[in-house]
């Protein structure tokens, strides 16, 4: 049971094959089934009576939902729409891949994809105009990043609060089972918790979660009363206002635009401004800004680690083509995915950690 909108998108494909040159998964696996057009074809077969089976369901999860194909398509074809719906279909038909099912169980047990107790952080005040939304990836896997951001806010004299029990943003569940009511309810709980804090600005560490809050929450009527900003924009703003004055560091770096900052939020310059303010020499990678090739995601890594390793390697190839020896990132997800596959001659650094050292 696919929506008319989904059907329209599967049929919008003109089979020009240009998206296969952009798909981070298809490019590294080389498998035809991993191209966006193949997924459209599979679903139009289902619409014509073919059985939606375990293999088709599996194929729908071999995608990072990075939006690169959507961005480049001349017919306005948006595979993320029907892939999400097909994932819903997989859940409904009891055809979820086992690894995916395990993550859903983790979420329902602990609220996060790792199935662990989420570490707690505290802000500088119980109530403040600024709320820092850390998110599960940074909280569980990147404590140094969290410490760096918090230290930067303190240095800029910004009192901030952190939710005592930070609810999930619904980002990952939405990618796993599509946009269904269960996901909306999770989003609503998150919006309510943020609203109860009384904060005026929510600084969101993970750009993926910022995108969900800025773009999906309004669609789902989960209004956040505060202005939602990405950590990158917020920190870049502090530098612009002179509240953070970094010392110059010399060196050559390259930067990977994560899919959400690249295509959903169109925030390309704040990071570059931070890099510039630190005096670093930025070497742009092949496929940057809107065209950035996705390196994989923490969710993909959680249910298909071998695939995430391939996508990360695919992006490291682009890093290798620059003269920079350091890749700077601002996303906890990118840090985890790319950080697991660093080639011997290169290093990966978190921009906030660097900035914290420079301020």
């Amino acid at each position: 049971m696919m929506s008319q909108n989904s059907k329209k998108h599967t049929e919008a494909c003109r089979f020009c094959w240009m998206c296969r040159h952009l798909c981070p998964v298809g490019l590294t696996t080389g498998r035809e089934v991993n191209t966006p057009r193949a997924k459209a074809l599979l679903l139009s077969m289902v619409d014509r009576g073919e059985k939606f089976d375990k293999d088709i369901a599996q194929a729908m999860y071999e995608c990072v939902l990075c939006g690169s194909c959507t961005n480049d398509c001349v017919t306005g074809f948006d595979p993320t729409i029907f892939i999400r719906e097909a994932r819903t279909m997989a859940a409904v038909e009891d055809l979820l891949p086992k690894a995916v099912e395990e993550i859903i169980t983790n979420i329902s047990n602990t609220g996060n994809i790792y199935g662990v107790q989420k570490p707690k952080y505290t802000g500088t005040a119980a109530k403040a105009e600024v709320l820092l939304y850390i998110g599960e990836v940074a909280a569980c896997k990147q404590p140094t990043l969290v410490t760096a951001i918090m230290s930067l806010l303190k240095k800029a004299d910004i009192p901030f609060t952190v939710l005592e029990e930070e609810p999930a943003s619904a980002t990952f569940l939405g990618d796993l089972i599509g946009f269904v009511e269960e996901v909306r309810i999770q989003a609503k709980d998150c919006a309510n918790a943020i609203n109860t804090s009384g904060a005026k600005t929510v600084v969101v560490l993970d750009s993926y979660e910022a995108t969900t809050m800025k773009q999906r929450y309004p669609e789902w009527n989960c209004t956040i009363n505060a202005d939602v900003v990405t950590a990158t924009s917020f920190i870049a703003g502090l530098i612009e206002e002179g509240k953070l004055v970094p010392k110059k560091i010399t060196g050559e770096v390259t930067y990977h635009d994560d899919s959400r900052l690249a295509r959903d939020l169109d925030e390309h310059e704040p990071v570059r401004n931070i890099i510039k303010a630190m005096g670093l020499n930025l070497q742009e990678m092949f496929l940057n800004r809107r065209m950035a090739k996705c390196c994989g995601s923490e969710l993909l890594k959680a249910y298909a680690p071998e695939l995430a390793a391939l996508t990360a390697e695919g992006r490291w190839e682009d890093v290798n083509r620059t003269t920079a020896d350091t890749l700077v990132v601002v996303s906890p997800q990118v840090m985890n995915v790319m950080g697991a596959k660093v080639p011997s001659a290169k290093q990966i650094k978190d921009l906030y950690v660097l900035l914290d050292q420079a301020c």
């Binding site: 929450y217 309004p218 209004t223 202005d227």
Partner: protein, 321 residues
């Protein structure tokens, strides 16, 4: 009694639109040799109605506080059954668009919604023009087999009323007893900055405004210059502005003297709600935004900068005066 070519105008609350509709009815009645009856649902000076074109005025008493549209429709339908006019016209206000269909259903006849033009044929057949599909087409509609033929007319589309000083006419006061099944328990008048349908100046923002705070700024400016603030659907969807501010197909249609579209790209469903404005100014940072084609004047640049600069000059001038 057979159906006449008379035209009945049901007046509902907004005297200036009611009088315009009476004048229009008067000129149509001359074509088909009928008379014009004004049926006023509220207290008003019947002389104005007569001078605007009514031959007879019925002042219905006791309806001011009635919120039961079905009951009002029953009262009107029995009057219409007794008198059998050929045409009945209502204002396309929220109330008019509720009462008129109820009357039409009671009389088992046709009704055309939200007409923007009417033309009477000699035979007494009414040509009703109404926009559809977001104003992209105009449908010409007739009700050729049944009488009365009924229409609601969009407020503000007709020419101003013409008054003939020496006209005389009959006035009857009709008390109406209603057993209302719907009762009114309260009323909250809209804030002056939100009375979009009556506004002379509207400053409307789109997603380009970028935040709630931005919309607060627009509202402040609107209040300063005695205008109203509006929003595009995209801005409402993004949570920047409340739905009551929404202009367009799924919001309210407006017709101010001056419409200032700030950070609005110009989606079709927004355009249909504002393109009747006398003068449209677009402020947009994108010189290729569709809204520019639909504007009389455009300023390309950052909206905040432009409005702040303008506001400074506005305040300076105010001090001078």
């Amino acid at each position: 009694m057979i159906t006449s070519n008379d035209i009945w105008v049901i007046g509902d609350k907004q005297i200036k639109y009611d009088l315009a509709l009476l004048s229009k009815a008067h000129s149509m009645a001359e074509v088909c040799a009928g008379k014009v009856f004004a049926v006023m649902l509220y207290e008003t000076d019947p002389d104005y109605c007569i001078r605007a074109g009514a031959d007879e005025v019925y002042l219905l008493q006791g309806l001011e506080k009635i919120a039961d549209d079905a009951a009002i429709a029953h009262a009107l339908a029995s009057l219409l059954r007794e008198n059998r006019p050929g045409t009945v016209l209502f204002q396309a206000t929220v109330r008019g668009r509720a009462i008129a269909p109820a009357v039409a259903a009671l009389l088992s006849t046709g009704l055309t919604a939200d007409c923007i033009d009417l033309k009477m044929e000699e035979s007494g057949l009414l040509l009703q023009k109404r926009p559809a599909l977001g104003d992209s087409i105009i449908a010409e509609i007739v009700c050729d087999k049944l009488r009365p033929q009924m229409a609601t007319v969009r407020p503000g589309v007709l020419e101003d009323p013409t008054f003939q000083e020496k006209r005389t006419g009959k006035v009857s006061i009709i008390p109406i007893e209603i057993n209302a099944l719907v009762t009114k328990t309260g009323f909250m008048p809209a804030q002056s900055s939100e009375l979009l349908s009556e506004a002379k100046i509207i400053i409307a923002g789109g997603v380009g405004i970028g935040s709630r705070e931005g919309f607060e700024y627009l509202r402040e400016i609107a209040l300063q210059i005695g205008g109203c603030v509006g929003a595009s659907r995209a801005a409402v969807d993004a949570g920047y502005a409340p739905y009551t501010w929404q202009i367009g197909q799924t919001g309210i249609a407006v017709k101010p003297n001056l419409y200032i579209a700030v950070g609005i790209s110009g989606a079709v469903h927004h355009l249909v709600g504002m393109n009747a404005s006398d003068y449209i100014v677009a402020i947009n940072r994108d010189a290729k935004a569709p809204i520019l084609q639909y504007a009389d004047y455009a300023i390309v640049g950052e909206w905040r900068h432009i409005l702040e600069q303008w506001f400074l000059s506005y305040q300076e001038r105010k001090v001078c005066i």
